[in-house]
Protein backbone atom coordinates (compact mmCIF):
# COMPACT_ATOMS: atom_id res chain seq x y z
CA UNK A 1 0.00 0.00 0.00
CA UNK A 2 1.54 3.23 -1.02
CA UNK A 3 2.18 5.96 1.49
CA UNK A 4 0.65 8.44 -0.89
CA UNK A 5 -2.66 6.63 -0.91
CA UNK A 6 -2.67 6.41 2.88
CA UNK A 7 -1.86 10.08 2.94
CA UNK A 8 -4.82 11.04 0.78
CA UNK A 9 -7.18 8.90 2.79
CA UNK A 10 -5.73 10.01 6.09
CA UNK A 11 -6.19 13.64 5.13
CA UNK A 12 -9.73 12.97 4.02
CA UNK A 13 -10.56 11.12 7.19
CA UNK A 14 -8.97 13.76 9.37
CA UNK A 15 -11.04 16.42 7.70
CA UNK A 16 -14.08 14.20 7.96
CA UNK A 17 -13.75 14.53 11.71
CA UNK A 18 -15.46 17.86 11.15
CA UNK A 19 -18.02 16.69 8.67
CA UNK A 20 -18.66 12.96 8.67
CA UNK A 21 -21.12 12.20 5.92
CA UNK A 22 -23.57 9.35 5.77
CA UNK A 23 -24.76 7.73 2.56
CA UNK A 24 -28.21 9.19 3.20
CA UNK A 25 -26.77 12.67 3.67
CA UNK A 26 -25.11 12.75 0.27
CA UNK A 27 -28.18 11.23 -1.36
CA UNK A 28 -30.29 13.96 0.23
CA UNK A 29 -27.82 16.53 -1.05
CA UNK A 30 -28.19 15.02 -4.51
CA UNK A 31 -31.99 15.24 -4.35
CA UNK A 32 -31.85 18.82 -3.09
CA UNK A 33 -29.57 19.76 -5.98
CA UNK A 34 -31.67 18.01 -8.58
CA UNK A 35 -34.86 19.61 -7.25
CA UNK A 36 -33.32 23.07 -6.95
CA UNK A 37 -34.21 24.06 -10.53
CA UNK A 38 -34.99 21.16 -12.84
CA UNK A 39 -35.69 23.46 -15.80
CA UNK A 40 -32.60 25.65 -15.50
CA UNK A 41 -31.07 24.51 -18.80
CA UNK A 42 -34.29 25.42 -20.60
CA UNK A 43 -34.64 28.77 -18.86
CA UNK A 44 -31.14 29.97 -19.70
CA UNK A 45 -32.06 30.37 -23.35
CA UNK A 46 -34.24 33.38 -22.74
CA UNK A 47 -33.19 34.58 -19.30
CA UNK A 48 -31.19 37.63 -18.33
CA UNK A 49 -28.82 38.32 -15.43
CA UNK A 50 -31.64 37.77 -12.95
CA UNK A 51 -31.27 34.05 -13.47
CA UNK A 52 -27.70 34.27 -12.19
CA UNK A 53 -28.99 34.10 -8.61
CA UNK A 54 -30.82 30.89 -9.40
CA UNK A 55 -27.72 29.49 -11.06
CA UNK A 56 -25.67 30.34 -7.97
CA UNK A 57 -28.23 28.63 -5.78
CA UNK A 58 -28.13 25.49 -7.92
CA UNK A 59 -24.33 25.67 -8.05
CA UNK A 60 -24.24 25.74 -4.26
CA UNK A 61 -26.46 22.67 -4.09
CA UNK A 62 -24.25 20.92 -6.64
CA UNK A 63 -21.20 21.78 -4.62
CA UNK A 64 -22.78 20.48 -1.42
CA UNK A 65 -23.58 17.21 -3.14
CA UNK A 66 -20.11 16.92 -4.71
CA UNK A 67 -18.40 17.66 -1.40
CA UNK A 68 -20.63 15.26 0.52
CA UNK A 69 -20.08 12.48 -2.00
CA UNK A 70 -16.36 13.13 -2.09
CA UNK A 71 -16.13 12.92 1.70
CA UNK A 72 -18.36 9.84 1.79
CA UNK A 73 -16.30 7.99 -0.81
CA UNK A 74 -13.11 8.81 1.11
CA UNK A 75 -14.68 7.69 4.39
CA UNK A 76 -15.83 4.41 2.86
CA UNK A 77 -12.38 3.65 1.53
CA UNK A 78 -10.79 4.56 4.86
CA UNK A 79 -13.22 2.24 6.63
CA UNK A 80 -12.39 -0.55 4.24
CA UNK A 81 -8.69 0.01 4.87
CA UNK A 82 -9.32 -0.25 8.59
CA UNK A 83 -11.31 -3.47 8.23
CA UNK A 84 -8.87 -5.16 5.86
CA UNK A 85 -5.60 -3.94 7.39
CA UNK A 86 -5.20 -7.39 8.94
CA UNK A 87 -4.56 -8.83 5.48
CA UNK A 88 -1.15 -7.18 5.54
CA UNK A 89 -0.11 -8.97 8.70
CA UNK A 90 2.32 -11.81 8.25
CA UNK A 91 1.57 -14.81 10.50
CA UNK A 92 3.47 -15.10 13.79
CA UNK A 93 6.36 -17.51 13.95
CA UNK A 94 5.25 -21.07 14.69
CA UNK A 95 7.00 -23.78 16.66
CA UNK A 96 9.94 -25.37 14.91
CA UNK A 97 8.80 -28.79 13.75
CA UNK A 98 10.51 -32.15 14.31
CA UNK A 99 10.53 -32.49 18.08
CA UNK A 100 12.96 -35.14 19.32
CA UNK A 101 10.26 -36.75 21.46
CA UNK A 102 9.68 -39.65 19.04
CA UNK A 103 13.39 -40.41 18.90
CA UNK A 104 13.65 -40.35 22.70
CA UNK A 105 10.63 -42.62 23.04
CA UNK A 106 12.24 -45.03 20.55
CA UNK A 107 15.54 -45.09 22.44
CA UNK A 108 13.84 -45.51 25.83
CA UNK A 109 11.54 -48.25 24.52
CA UNK A 110 14.56 -50.16 23.18
CA UNK A 111 16.32 -49.84 26.56
CA UNK A 112 13.21 -51.04 28.42
CA UNK A 113 12.82 -54.00 26.11
CA UNK A 114 16.48 -54.87 26.67
CA UNK A 115 15.99 -54.75 30.46
CA UNK A 116 12.90 -56.95 30.14
CA UNK A 117 15.02 -59.46 28.24
CA UNK A 118 17.74 -59.28 30.90
CA UNK A 119 15.26 -59.88 33.73
CA UNK A 120 13.70 -62.71 31.70
CA UNK A 121 11.40 -64.96 33.68
CA UNK A 122 13.42 -64.86 36.86
CA UNK A 123 11.10 -66.09 39.67
CA UNK A 124 12.72 -63.78 42.24
CA UNK A 125 9.95 -61.67 43.78
CA UNK A 126 11.95 -58.46 43.64
CA UNK A 127 12.91 -59.06 40.02
CA UNK A 128 9.29 -59.78 39.20
CA UNK A 129 8.30 -56.47 40.79
CA UNK A 130 10.92 -54.60 38.77
CA UNK A 131 9.78 -56.43 35.67
CA UNK A 132 6.17 -55.37 36.21
CA UNK A 133 7.33 -51.75 36.48
CA UNK A 134 9.35 -52.19 33.28
CA UNK A 135 6.16 -53.42 31.67
CA UNK A 136 4.37 -50.25 32.86
CA UNK A 137 7.14 -48.17 31.30
CA UNK A 138 6.88 -50.19 28.14
CA UNK A 139 3.13 -49.66 27.97
CA UNK A 140 3.48 -45.91 28.58
CA UNK A 141 6.18 -45.65 25.92
CA UNK A 142 4.09 -47.68 23.47
CA UNK A 143 1.13 -45.39 24.08
CA UNK A 144 3.40 -42.37 23.66
CA UNK A 145 4.74 -43.69 20.36
CA UNK A 146 1.20 -43.94 18.99
CA UNK A 147 0.23 -40.54 20.40
CA UNK A 148 3.32 -38.85 19.00
CA UNK A 149 2.65 -40.31 15.56
CA UNK A 150 -0.91 -38.96 15.71
CA UNK A 151 0.33 -35.63 17.10
CA UNK A 152 2.72 -35.35 14.19
CA UNK A 153 -0.19 -35.81 11.78
CA UNK A 154 -2.20 -33.16 13.66
CA UNK A 155 0.76 -30.77 13.58
CA UNK A 156 1.14 -31.42 9.85
CA UNK A 157 -2.56 -30.65 9.38
CA UNK A 158 -2.16 -27.41 11.37
CA UNK A 159 0.86 -26.48 9.24
CA UNK A 160 -1.03 -27.26 6.02
CA UNK A 161 -4.03 -25.25 7.25
CA UNK A 162 -1.67 -22.37 8.03
CA UNK A 163 -0.23 -22.53 4.52
CA UNK A 164 -3.71 -22.59 2.94
CA UNK A 165 -4.61 -19.63 5.10
CA UNK A 166 -1.58 -17.70 3.93
CA UNK A 167 -2.42 -18.43 0.30
CA UNK A 168 -5.99 -17.21 0.84
CA UNK A 169 -4.70 -14.14 2.69
CA UNK A 170 -2.26 -13.25 -0.07
CA UNK A 171 -4.95 -13.70 -2.72
CA UNK A 172 -7.35 -11.47 -0.75
CA UNK A 173 -4.58 -8.90 -0.22
CA UNK A 174 -3.84 -8.72 -3.95
CA UNK A 175 -7.54 -8.29 -4.75
CA UNK A 176 -7.92 -5.66 -2.07
CA UNK A 177 -5.01 -3.71 -3.54
CA UNK A 178 -6.57 -3.87 -6.98
CA UNK A 179 -9.98 -2.75 -5.74
CA UNK A 180 -8.37 -0.10 -3.59
CA UNK A 181 -6.64 1.36 -6.66
CA UNK A 182 -10.02 1.73 -8.36
CA UNK A 183 -11.56 3.18 -5.19
CA UNK A 184 -8.78 5.77 -4.94
CA UNK A 185 -9.37 6.71 -8.53
CA UNK A 186 -13.02 7.21 -7.60
CA UNK A 187 -11.98 9.48 -4.73
CA UNK A 188 -9.89 11.62 -7.07
CA UNK A 189 -12.65 11.69 -9.68
CA UNK A 190 -15.29 12.64 -7.12
CA UNK A 191 -13.32 15.78 -6.36
CA UNK A 192 -12.80 16.52 -10.07
CA UNK A 193 -16.52 16.11 -10.73
CA UNK A 194 -17.22 18.77 -8.12
CA UNK A 195 -14.84 21.16 -9.86
CA UNK A 196 -16.37 20.34 -13.24
CA UNK A 197 -19.86 21.15 -11.99
CA UNK A 198 -18.62 24.43 -10.49
CA UNK A 199 -17.09 25.29 -13.87
CA UNK A 200 -20.27 24.36 -15.66
CA UNK A 201 -22.49 26.59 -13.53
CA UNK A 202 -19.96 29.43 -13.81
CA UNK A 203 -20.13 29.12 -17.59
CA UNK A 204 -23.92 29.16 -17.49
CA UNK A 205 -23.84 32.18 -15.26
CA UNK A 206 -21.30 33.97 -17.47
CA UNK A 207 -23.46 33.36 -20.51
CA UNK A 208 -26.53 34.71 -18.74
CA UNK A 209 -24.72 37.76 -17.38
CA UNK A 210 -23.11 38.53 -20.70
CA UNK A 211 -26.42 38.87 -22.53
CA UNK A 212 -29.28 41.31 -22.33
CA UNK A 213 -32.37 39.81 -20.75
CA UNK A 214 -34.77 38.28 -23.24
CA UNK A 215 -37.65 40.06 -21.55
CA UNK A 216 -37.85 42.88 -19.04
CA UNK A 217 -37.52 41.71 -15.49
CA UNK A 218 -39.67 43.76 -13.13
CA UNK A 219 -37.71 43.23 -9.98
CA UNK A 220 -34.43 41.60 -9.35
CA UNK A 221 -34.70 38.87 -6.82
CA UNK A 222 -32.15 39.24 -4.04
CA UNK A 223 -29.17 37.27 -5.15
CA UNK A 224 -28.15 34.36 -3.04
CA UNK A 225 -24.59 35.45 -3.27
CA UNK A 226 -22.98 38.58 -4.72
CA UNK A 227 -20.65 37.88 -7.58
CA UNK A 228 -17.46 39.57 -8.69
CA UNK A 229 -16.69 40.21 -12.34
CA UNK A 230 -16.26 36.93 -14.21
CA UNK A 231 -12.58 37.58 -14.96
CA UNK A 232 -11.71 37.78 -11.26
CA UNK A 233 -14.04 35.11 -9.98
CA UNK A 234 -12.53 32.19 -8.05
CA UNK A 235 -13.19 28.74 -9.51
CA UNK A 236 -15.23 27.85 -6.42
CA UNK A 237 -18.46 29.55 -5.31
CA UNK A 238 -17.92 32.61 -3.15
CA UNK A 239 -19.79 30.89 -0.34
CA UNK A 240 -16.60 28.89 0.17
CA UNK A 241 -14.91 32.12 1.39
CA UNK A 242 -17.53 34.59 2.54
CA UNK A 243 -19.50 34.39 5.76
CA UNK A 244 -18.73 33.90 9.42
CA UNK A 245 -16.26 31.21 10.38
CA UNK A 246 -15.15 29.90 13.77
CA UNK A 247 -12.59 27.54 15.21
CA UNK A 248 -14.46 24.45 16.49
CA UNK A 249 -14.69 24.10 20.25
CA UNK A 250 -13.44 20.48 20.14
CA UNK A 251 -10.98 18.55 17.96
CA UNK A 252 -9.97 21.61 15.98
CA UNK A 253 -7.15 21.26 13.47
CA UNK A 254 -4.32 23.75 13.68
CA UNK A 255 -0.61 24.12 13.22
CA UNK A 256 1.62 26.34 15.36
CA UNK A 257 0.04 28.09 18.35
CA UNK A 258 -3.24 26.46 19.43
CA UNK A 259 -6.24 28.75 19.08
CA UNK A 260 -8.56 29.17 22.02
CA UNK A 261 -11.06 30.75 19.65
CA UNK A 262 -11.01 32.29 16.20
CA UNK A 263 -13.75 34.47 14.73
CA UNK A 264 -13.42 35.32 11.07
CA UNK A 265 -15.85 37.28 8.96
CA UNK A 266 -15.45 37.71 5.20
CA UNK A 267 -17.58 40.01 3.05
CA UNK A 268 -17.64 40.40 -0.71
CA UNK A 269 -18.84 43.17 -2.94
CA UNK A 270 -18.23 43.38 -6.67
CA UNK A 271 -15.32 41.03 -6.53
CA UNK A 272 -13.73 42.83 -3.61
CA UNK A 273 -13.24 41.05 -0.32
CA UNK A 274 -12.91 42.55 3.08
CA UNK A 275 -12.89 40.87 6.41
CA UNK A 276 -11.67 40.79 9.95
CA UNK A 277 -10.24 38.20 12.28
CA UNK A 278 -10.24 38.16 16.03
CA UNK A 279 -8.52 35.30 17.82
CA UNK A 280 -7.03 34.27 21.13
CA UNK A 281 -4.28 31.64 21.29
CA UNK A 282 -3.08 29.40 24.09
CA UNK A 283 0.40 30.80 24.69
CA UNK A 284 2.52 30.61 27.82
CA UNK A 285 3.67 34.22 27.62
CA UNK A 286 3.01 37.37 25.65
CA UNK A 287 -0.19 38.74 24.23
CA UNK A 288 -2.51 35.84 23.27
CA UNK A 289 -4.88 38.03 21.27
CA UNK A 290 -4.63 39.08 17.66
CA UNK A 291 -7.04 41.24 15.72
CA UNK A 292 -6.68 42.32 12.13
CA UNK A 293 -8.57 43.50 9.07
CA UNK A 294 -7.86 42.50 5.52
CA UNK A 295 -9.12 43.46 2.09
CA UNK A 296 -8.41 42.85 -1.57
CA UNK A 297 -9.84 41.64 -4.84
CA UNK A 298 -10.79 38.03 -5.37
CA UNK A 299 -8.48 36.31 -7.82
CA UNK A 300 -9.31 33.50 -10.24
CA UNK A 301 -7.61 30.94 -8.00
CA UNK A 302 -8.76 28.45 -5.43
CA UNK A 303 -6.67 29.91 -2.62
CA UNK A 304 -7.13 33.63 -1.96
CA UNK A 305 -4.39 35.75 -0.42
CA UNK A 306 -5.13 39.21 1.00
CA UNK A 307 -2.94 41.80 2.71
CA UNK A 308 -3.79 42.42 6.33
CA UNK A 309 -3.14 45.01 8.99
CA UNK A 310 -3.33 44.24 12.70
CA UNK A 311 -4.93 46.52 15.28
CA UNK A 312 -1.46 47.58 16.42
CA UNK A 313 -0.24 48.45 12.94
CA UNK A 314 1.67 45.33 11.84
CA UNK A 315 1.15 44.25 8.26
CA UNK A 316 1.06 40.77 6.80
CA UNK A 317 -1.03 38.41 4.69
CA UNK A 318 -3.85 35.96 5.19
CA UNK A 319 -4.55 33.02 2.90
CA UNK A 320 -8.06 31.55 2.67
CA UNK A 321 -8.04 27.92 1.58
CA UNK A 322 -11.38 26.17 0.97
CA UNK A 323 -11.51 22.85 2.83
CA UNK A 324 -12.45 19.38 1.64
CA UNK A 325 -16.05 20.00 2.68
CA UNK A 326 -18.10 23.07 1.78
CA UNK A 327 -18.30 24.20 5.40
CA UNK A 328 -14.55 24.14 6.08
CA UNK A 329 -12.08 26.94 5.48
CA UNK A 330 -8.43 26.83 6.34
CA UNK A 331 -6.70 30.08 7.23
CA UNK A 332 -3.01 30.77 7.20
CA UNK A 333 -1.74 34.16 8.32
CA UNK A 334 1.62 35.79 8.95
CA UNK A 335 2.44 39.27 10.21
CA UNK A 336 5.63 41.16 10.90
CA UNK A 337 7.11 39.67 14.07
CA UNK A 338 6.62 41.92 17.12
CA UNK A 339 7.94 40.98 20.57
CA UNK A 340 5.29 39.25 22.68
CA UNK A 341 2.77 39.21 19.85
CA UNK A 342 1.23 36.40 17.86
CA UNK A 343 2.62 36.74 14.35
CA UNK A 344 1.45 33.59 12.61
CA UNK A 345 -1.36 31.08 12.76
CA UNK A 346 -2.87 28.22 10.86
CA UNK A 347 -6.21 26.57 11.56
CA UNK A 348 -9.19 24.95 9.92
CA UNK A 349 -12.41 26.87 10.61
CA UNK A 350 -15.97 25.75 10.32
CA UNK A 351 -18.80 27.85 8.95
CA UNK A 352 -20.91 29.45 11.64
Amino acid sequence: MSRARNAVIAAAVSLCAFAAVSREAYRDAYKAWRQADPTLEREVAGAGPALAADIDRVANQAEKYASARSVFVSQSEAEQQRLLAFLQQEPPAGLPGGSGASRIVGVEAAAVRHSLDVYGNDPDRGIQLARSLLNRENLALGALAGLLADAQKTADQARAAGESEQQARRRALALWRESSAIANQQIAEASQEGTAWADYYRMLSDAVRGAAPAAPVPTLAPTAEPRPPASARPPLPLSRYVGAWVFPAANGLFHGPEPEFVDLVVHEENGHADGSLFARFKVSSGDPVIRFDFAGDFQPARNQVFPLQTSDGASGTIELIPGAAFNLLEINFQTEPRPGKIHQGNAVLIKK
Binding site: N6, A7, I9, A10, S14, R23, R27, Y30, R34, E41, R42, V44, A45, S76, E79, Q80, R82, L83, L84, A85, F86, Q88, Q89, P92, A93, G94, G100, I104, V107, E108, A130, L133, L134, R136, A140, A143, L147, L148, A151, A158, A161, E165, A168, L175, W176, E178, I182, A183, Q185, Q186, E189, A196, Y200, M203, L204, A207, F254, H255, E330, N346
Partner: protein, 233 residues
Protein backbone atom coordinates in the same frame (compact mmCIF):
# COMPACT_ATOMS: atom_id res chain seq x y z
CA UNK B 1 -0.61 23.58 6.26
CA UNK B 2 1.68 20.94 4.85
CA UNK B 3 3.05 20.53 8.36
CA UNK B 4 -0.49 20.20 9.68
CA UNK B 5 -1.26 17.52 7.14
CA UNK B 6 1.96 15.71 8.10
CA UNK B 7 0.88 15.73 11.74
CA UNK B 8 -2.56 14.44 10.78
CA UNK B 9 -1.06 11.78 8.57
CA UNK B 10 1.29 10.64 11.28
CA UNK B 11 -1.63 10.26 13.67
CA UNK B 12 -3.73 8.48 11.11
CA UNK B 13 -0.91 6.21 9.96
CA UNK B 14 -0.41 5.23 13.60
CA UNK B 15 -4.11 4.36 13.80
CA UNK B 16 -3.92 2.34 10.60
CA UNK B 17 -0.98 0.43 11.90
CA UNK B 18 -2.48 -0.17 15.32
CA UNK B 19 -4.03 -3.56 14.47
CA UNK B 20 -0.69 -4.77 13.11
CA UNK B 21 0.84 -4.35 16.56
CA UNK B 22 -1.49 -7.11 17.75
CA UNK B 23 -0.08 -9.52 15.19
CA UNK B 24 1.27 -11.88 17.78
CA UNK B 25 -0.58 -11.68 21.09
CA UNK B 26 1.90 -14.01 22.82
CA UNK B 27 5.36 -13.03 21.63
CA UNK B 28 8.08 -15.20 23.09
CA UNK B 29 5.86 -18.21 23.82
CA UNK B 30 7.10 -20.08 20.75
CA UNK B 31 10.69 -19.33 21.70
CA UNK B 32 10.06 -20.35 25.30
CA UNK B 33 8.44 -23.64 24.18
CA UNK B 34 11.33 -24.36 21.80
CA UNK B 35 13.86 -23.65 24.57
CA UNK B 36 12.05 -25.89 27.07
CA UNK B 37 11.88 -28.67 24.47
CA UNK B 38 15.59 -28.37 23.78
CA UNK B 39 16.41 -28.53 27.51
CA UNK B 40 14.29 -31.63 28.00
CA UNK B 41 15.75 -33.32 24.92
CA UNK B 42 19.27 -32.73 26.16
CA UNK B 43 18.50 -34.15 29.60
CA UNK B 44 16.39 -37.07 28.30
CA UNK B 45 18.95 -38.07 25.70
CA UNK B 46 21.77 -38.02 28.22
CA UNK B 47 19.88 -39.70 31.06
CA UNK B 48 20.88 -43.32 30.38
CA UNK B 49 24.52 -42.44 29.92
CA UNK B 50 24.43 -40.36 33.10
CA UNK B 51 22.93 -43.04 35.37
CA UNK B 52 24.56 -46.05 33.74
CA UNK B 53 27.48 -46.11 36.16
CA UNK B 54 25.52 -45.13 39.29
CA UNK B 55 24.71 -47.63 42.01
CA UNK B 56 20.96 -48.44 42.26
CA UNK B 57 20.65 -46.61 45.57
CA UNK B 58 22.72 -43.62 44.56
CA UNK B 59 20.49 -40.63 45.40
CA UNK B 60 21.80 -38.90 42.27
CA UNK B 61 20.06 -41.57 40.19
CA UNK B 62 16.51 -40.70 41.29
CA UNK B 63 17.47 -37.00 41.26
CA UNK B 64 18.53 -37.34 37.60
CA UNK B 65 15.23 -39.03 36.67
CA UNK B 66 13.29 -36.38 38.58
CA UNK B 67 15.22 -33.64 36.80
CA UNK B 68 14.29 -35.06 33.39
CA UNK B 69 10.69 -35.51 34.55
CA UNK B 70 10.54 -31.85 35.63
CA UNK B 71 12.06 -30.76 32.32
CA UNK B 72 9.43 -32.84 30.54
CA UNK B 73 6.65 -31.14 32.52
CA UNK B 74 8.16 -27.73 31.79
CA UNK B 75 8.33 -28.53 28.07
CA UNK B 76 4.72 -29.72 27.97
CA UNK B 77 3.50 -26.73 29.99
CA UNK B 78 5.32 -24.30 27.68
CA UNK B 79 3.92 -26.10 24.66
CA UNK B 80 0.45 -25.93 26.18
CA UNK B 81 0.81 -22.18 26.78
CA UNK B 82 1.95 -21.64 23.23
CA UNK B 83 -0.88 -23.69 21.76
CA UNK B 84 -3.48 -22.02 24.02
CA UNK B 85 -2.31 -18.61 22.81
CA UNK B 86 -2.15 -19.76 19.20
CA UNK B 87 -5.66 -21.22 19.39
CA UNK B 88 -6.98 -18.00 20.98
CA UNK B 89 -5.25 -16.00 18.27
CA UNK B 90 -6.74 -18.33 15.62
CA UNK B 91 -10.23 -17.78 17.03
CA UNK B 92 -9.66 -14.02 16.96
CA UNK B 93 -8.25 -14.21 13.42
CA UNK B 94 -11.28 -16.17 12.27
CA UNK B 95 -13.59 -13.59 13.81
CA UNK B 96 -11.68 -10.69 12.21
CA UNK B 97 -11.92 -12.34 8.79
CA UNK B 98 -15.60 -13.15 9.33
CA UNK B 99 -16.36 -9.49 10.18
CA UNK B 100 -14.41 -8.29 7.15
CA UNK B 101 -16.32 -10.75 4.97
CA UNK B 102 -19.68 -9.52 6.30
CA UNK B 103 -18.64 -5.89 5.69
CA UNK B 104 -17.40 -6.75 2.22
CA UNK B 105 -20.67 -8.46 1.33
CA UNK B 106 -22.61 -5.41 2.53
CA UNK B 107 -20.24 -3.14 0.62
CA UNK B 108 -20.83 -5.16 -2.56
CA UNK B 109 -24.56 -4.45 -2.27
CA UNK B 110 -23.87 -0.74 -1.70
CA UNK B 111 -21.62 -0.66 -4.75
CA UNK B 112 -24.42 -2.02 -6.89
CA UNK B 113 -26.64 0.80 -5.58
CA UNK B 114 -23.86 3.33 -6.25
CA UNK B 115 -23.52 2.07 -9.79
CA UNK B 116 -27.29 2.31 -10.35
CA UNK B 117 -27.24 5.84 -8.92
CA UNK B 118 -24.39 6.87 -11.20
CA UNK B 119 -26.43 5.55 -14.10
CA UNK B 120 -29.44 7.59 -12.95
CA UNK B 121 -27.20 10.63 -12.62
CA UNK B 122 -25.98 10.12 -16.17
CA UNK B 123 -29.58 9.89 -17.40
CA UNK B 124 -30.42 13.12 -15.55
CA UNK B 125 -27.44 14.80 -17.22
CA UNK B 126 -28.61 13.53 -20.60
CA UNK B 127 -31.88 15.36 -19.95
CA UNK B 128 -29.97 18.52 -18.97
CA UNK B 129 -27.88 18.17 -22.11
CA UNK B 130 -30.95 17.85 -24.26
CA UNK B 131 -32.47 21.00 -22.76
CA UNK B 132 -29.21 22.89 -23.00
CA UNK B 133 -28.67 21.83 -26.61
CA UNK B 134 -32.04 23.41 -27.43
CA UNK B 135 -31.03 26.53 -25.52
CA UNK B 136 -27.72 26.74 -27.41
CA UNK B 137 -29.70 27.13 -30.63
CA UNK B 138 -31.21 30.33 -29.24
CA UNK B 139 -28.16 31.48 -27.30
CA UNK B 140 -24.88 30.31 -28.89
CA UNK B 141 -22.77 31.64 -25.99
CA UNK B 142 -24.04 28.65 -24.00
CA UNK B 143 -22.00 26.34 -26.20
CA UNK B 144 -19.04 26.33 -23.80
CA UNK B 145 -21.33 25.25 -20.96
CA UNK B 146 -22.87 22.59 -23.18
CA UNK B 147 -19.41 21.20 -23.97
CA UNK B 148 -18.62 21.16 -20.26
CA UNK B 149 -21.83 19.35 -19.46
CA UNK B 150 -21.02 16.88 -22.18
CA UNK B 151 -17.66 16.15 -20.57
CA UNK B 152 -19.35 15.79 -17.17
CA UNK B 153 -21.76 13.29 -18.69
CA UNK B 154 -18.79 11.28 -19.98
CA UNK B 155 -17.12 11.51 -16.59
CA UNK B 156 -20.23 10.21 -14.81
CA UNK B 157 -20.60 7.41 -17.38
CA UNK B 158 -16.96 6.47 -16.72
CA UNK B 159 -17.71 6.50 -13.00
CA UNK B 160 -20.56 4.04 -13.53
CA UNK B 161 -18.22 1.78 -15.52
CA UNK B 162 -15.53 2.03 -12.85
CA UNK B 163 -18.08 1.17 -10.19
CA UNK B 164 -19.05 -1.89 -12.20
CA UNK B 165 -15.42 -2.97 -12.37
CA UNK B 166 -14.97 -2.18 -8.67
CA UNK B 167 -18.04 -4.29 -7.84
CA UNK B 168 -16.54 -7.21 -9.78
CA UNK B 169 -13.22 -6.89 -7.94
CA UNK B 170 -15.00 -6.67 -4.61
CA UNK B 171 -17.02 -9.74 -5.45
CA UNK B 172 -13.76 -11.64 -6.02
CA UNK B 173 -12.40 -10.14 -2.82
CA UNK B 174 -15.46 -11.37 -0.91
CA UNK B 175 -14.88 -14.87 -2.33
CA UNK B 176 -11.22 -14.74 -1.27
CA UNK B 177 -12.24 -13.57 2.20
CA UNK B 178 -14.70 -16.43 2.40
CA UNK B 179 -11.84 -18.85 1.57
CA UNK B 180 -9.76 -17.13 4.22
CA UNK B 181 -12.49 -17.58 6.83
CA UNK B 182 -12.64 -21.30 5.99
CA UNK B 183 -8.85 -21.65 6.10
CA UNK B 184 -8.72 -19.89 9.45
CA UNK B 185 -11.44 -22.12 10.83
CA UNK B 186 -9.44 -25.16 9.66
CA UNK B 187 -6.30 -23.82 11.37
CA UNK B 188 -8.30 -23.15 14.52
CA UNK B 189 -9.63 -26.73 14.52
CA UNK B 190 -6.14 -28.14 13.91
CA UNK B 191 -4.71 -26.13 16.83
CA UNK B 192 -7.51 -27.26 19.12
CA UNK B 193 -6.82 -30.88 18.07
CA UNK B 194 -3.13 -30.30 18.89
CA UNK B 195 -4.12 -29.05 22.32
CA UNK B 196 -6.22 -32.16 22.97
CA UNK B 197 -3.39 -34.40 21.79
CA UNK B 198 -0.96 -32.54 24.04
CA UNK B 199 -3.18 -33.14 27.08
CA UNK B 200 -3.03 -36.89 26.41
CA UNK B 201 0.71 -36.76 25.75
CA UNK B 202 1.24 -34.93 29.04
CA UNK B 203 -0.63 -37.64 30.89
CA UNK B 204 1.38 -40.43 29.19
CA UNK B 205 4.75 -38.82 29.89
CA UNK B 206 3.67 -38.48 33.50
CA UNK B 207 2.89 -42.20 33.59
CA UNK B 208 6.22 -43.05 32.01
CA UNK B 209 8.38 -40.99 34.38
CA UNK B 210 6.38 -42.22 37.41
CA UNK B 211 7.05 -45.83 36.34
CA UNK B 212 10.69 -45.02 35.61
CA UNK B 213 11.15 -43.55 39.07
CA UNK B 214 9.27 -46.42 40.76
CA UNK B 215 11.52 -48.93 38.98
CA UNK B 216 14.64 -47.11 40.17
CA UNK B 217 13.38 -47.33 43.76
CA UNK B 218 12.46 -50.98 43.45
CA UNK B 219 15.86 -51.76 41.93
CA UNK B 220 17.43 -50.09 44.95
CA UNK B 221 15.32 -52.17 47.34
CA UNK B 222 16.12 -55.40 45.48
CA UNK B 223 19.83 -54.83 45.39
CA UNK B 224 20.18 -53.31 48.79
CA UNK B 225 17.52 -54.51 51.20
CA UNK B 226 19.79 -53.88 54.18
CA UNK B 227 20.85 -50.45 53.05
CA UNK B 228 24.22 -51.43 51.52
CA UNK B 229 24.80 -50.06 48.07
CA UNK B 230 25.54 -52.55 45.36
CA UNK B 231 25.82 -52.23 41.64
CA UNK B 232 22.84 -53.26 39.60
CA UNK B 233 23.49 -56.09 37.10
Amino acid sequence: MRKLIVILLAGFAWNLKAPAQEANPAPGLAERAAKAAAQWETLATGLDAKIQRMLPCDPRLTAAIEEVSRASQARLAAMNQYLQAAAARARQDTETARLALAAEQASARDLETDRAEAEQERIAIEAQLSDLSDSVKRRPELEEARAKLHSIRDRVAARAADLQSLAEKRSLLAAALSDLVEARQARQRALEAQLNALALETSRWGDYYAARLARARVECEITNPAGTSRRKR
